[in-house]
């Protein structure tokens, strides 16, 4: 990732960040992953297709920093029964579209299609995702200012989705 001068930032830097973030999730490097987030950023997974209002109708997830921390810390708990044994996940991602590229303002937005696989014991599920990242440049490094994860089959019934697509 580029350091310092905003003028040096390229679209490839933005795209590399998306790949790196996804890799952290797949490798379970959650502490590092949490550090990517701005304190007031929210992880939103809508329940309804093309849902506009995240809070006055039910979403799957609308996680503030406290909830994300709780989710990550719980995964490592002694008595986290649904994670004995632990789930594993894998993202296959398409090259992100960089829809907003504004190094001067330090604002970037990407849209990335992904196939997400989560597995535990004999179960494995595949979800098709469209992920929108809002990124900010803070002290020369990208931080997540918001992430929206849309499920292609959001109206289907699911069993547990335990990790973070």
């Amino acid at each position: 990732m580029s350091e310092g001068n905003a003028a040096m930032i390229t679209r490839d830097d933005v795209i590399d960040f998306i790949y790196a973030e996804t890799r952290m999730l797949d490798e379970g490097r959650y502490t590092e992953w949490l550090d990517l987030w701005l304190p007031d950023a929210v992880y939103w997974m809508p329940l309804d297709y093309k849902q506009a209002d995240p809070v006055n109708a039910t979403s799957f997830l609308y996680e503030d920093n406290f909830m994300l921390r709780l989710r990550v810390e719980r995964l490592n708990g002694e008595r986290t029964f649904s994670q004995k044994p632990k789930s594993r996940c894998n993202h296959v991602i398409q090259r992100p579209f960089v829809d907003v590229f504004d190094p001067e303002a330090g604002k970037f937005q990407t849209v990335t299609n992904m196939h997400y696989v989560e597995t535990r014991l004999d179960e494995q599920q595949l979800l098709a995702l469209t992920v929108t990242h809002d990124l900010a440049l803070v002290g020369g490094a990208f931080r997540i200012a918001g992430k929206k994860v849309e499920l292609l089959n959001c109206d289907a019934a699911f069993g547990n989705i335990q990790l973070l697509p």
């Binding site: 708990g77 029964f81 109206d155």
Partner: protein, 441 residues
């Protein structure tokens, strides 16, 4: 299996594991229990205009709930009288003045009556008009709309709505009374969460007050720990309001109290509940006082019932305007639909609070839901162990119990589970023959 076999599965303090794992029992539940009892269908705000419909299930029966041209809500079997094709399969829509089957274009009024058949002369002299199929789409046995909540009884004859629910309707009353305008409306689609377990495990869990501090320690306990590490900041993060109370000690749940009503209904949170300590939302109490006067407004809001089970298969949370429908798809498969409603006339933040609770607790992505589902699915598998045939429901069972009268007890009793099984046997066997081949009373 006959009525005596069914009754033999239910003892005062234990039930046979076949009630959870036997496919034959599931089939009998669909043909008897879910036929004789009043089953939740939907909320009338899902079909506000004439011709609006939703498709859903009553037990294993495909049905359509539709707003008829006279303004009433009808519940019809979702089956074309011609060849059986489902008339509608989208989950919601508007059909206008009539349904038209997409296979051969038979059409029906929104109360099910046959409207037209193309090339009708082909049926002249065939007797179609005298047959059941010639009448149109079949309606269910009975429908009742209680303050917007629509219930159906599949059986043509049987227990009346008021007799079936009795005093338990006070929980729906409290939920709807919490709206300054005295009505609620659906807010968005439901969460749909698939459980590989028997539907009764979910219903029992609603009044199982000895599991939160154990099964949910990983979520609620960790929340409390993180909050303390942060130095207990105010205002509390929303998760601390919603998830942390699950870590309340046993004494708290004992003091909550449990009330049971006849026919299997009951609720936790008689005196107070884990929903009693939410932050006040500005403007709400004022709006309630405006509508009801101070005394009545306070009485409505001081009632903080936790979970009310409407036997056999829904639960409502009045203080959070939520309803969960446990739809039985098989002995080992249950679809849980979790709805939130908007209190008409109340500040929008109340809806946001209900929606937040719904996603934090009832979603397939919920860290609370994950551990519940884990327990149910382990139980569904564990019950196949041949070494032990009975499931224990005897906590605070000390002698004969009379489920035909309302009772209030210690909040950790399993009396409500026993109440449900008492009602289960009653509604399972009322339309069955006993061992001698004689119809039961």
């Amino acid at each position: 299996m006959n009525a005596n076999d069914i009754r033999a599965m239910i003892q005062p303090a234990q039930v046979h594991r076949d009630v959870y794992i036997s496919d034959a029992v599931y089939q009998l539940e669909m043909r008897h229990l879910f036929t004789n009892a009043w089953i939740f269908v939907g909320h009338d705000s899902q079909t506000p205009n004439k011709g609006d419909y939703i498709t859903t299930q009553v037990g294993d029966q495909p049905v359509i709930m539709v707003r008829h041209t006279d303004g009433e809500v009808k519940v019809l079997y979702n089956r074309c009288p011609h060849k059986g094709t489902k008339i509608a399969i989208d989950r919601a829509g508007n059909t206008g003045k009539f349904f038209r089957c997409p296979y051969h274009a038979w059409s029906f009024k929104t109360d099910g009556c046959l409207l037209a058949i193309p090339l009708k002369k082909g049926y002249e002299g065939t007797g179609l008009s005298d047959s059941q199929n010639g009448k149109g789409m079949q309606a269910v046995g009975a429908v009742h709309n209680y303050r917007g909540f629509v219930f159906a009884r599949l059986a043509e004859a049987g227990i009346g709505f008021d007799d079936f629910f009795g005093g338990s309707l006070s929980s729906i009353d409290n939920m709807v009374d919490r709206a300054p305008e005295g009505r609620v409306e659906i807010s968005g689609p439901p969460l749909r969460y698939m459980h590989k377990c028997n539907w009764k495990m979910l219903v029992e869990n609603q009044t199982d007050t000895c599991h939160p501090m154990v099964a949910h320690e990983s979520s609620a306990g960790t929340a409390v720990k993180i909050y303390e590490q942060m130095g207990n900041p105010e205002p509390r993060p929303p998760a601390m309001q919603i998830i942390a109370p699950f870590m309340s000690p046993y004494e708290f749940f004992e003091d909550m109290g449990i009330r049971t009503w006849p026919n299997g209904h009951g609720h936790t949170g008689v005196n107070m509940s884990i929903h009693s300590n939410y932050d006040a939302i500005p403007g709400y109490f004022e709006a309630m006082v405006e509508s009801y006067g101070a005394e009545r407004a306070k009485a409505i809001l001081d009632e903080n019932r936790h979970n009310t089970v409407y036997f056999p298969n829904i639960m409502i949370k009045a203080p959070l305007t939520q309803l969960r429908n446990f739809i039985p798809l098989g002995a080992d498969r249950t679809l849980v639909e979790s709805y939130v409603y908007r209190l008409v006339g109340a500040p929008e933040q109340l809806t946001a609070m209900s929606a937040m609770y719904n996603r934090m607790i009832n979603a397939p992505t919920s860290i609370v839901g994950h551990d519940d589902l884990e327990m149910y699915e382990r139980a569904q598998e564990g019950l196949h162990a041949e070494g032990m045939q009975w499931v224990d429901i005897r906590r605070l069972h000390t002698g004969p119990e009379d489920f035909e009268t309302e009772a209030v007890e210690n909040g950790t009793t399993e009396r409500q589970m026993r109440n449900q099984f008492h009602a289960w046997a009653k509604f399972m066997t009322m339309s069955m023959e006993d061992a001698a081949g004689v119809a039961a009373e």
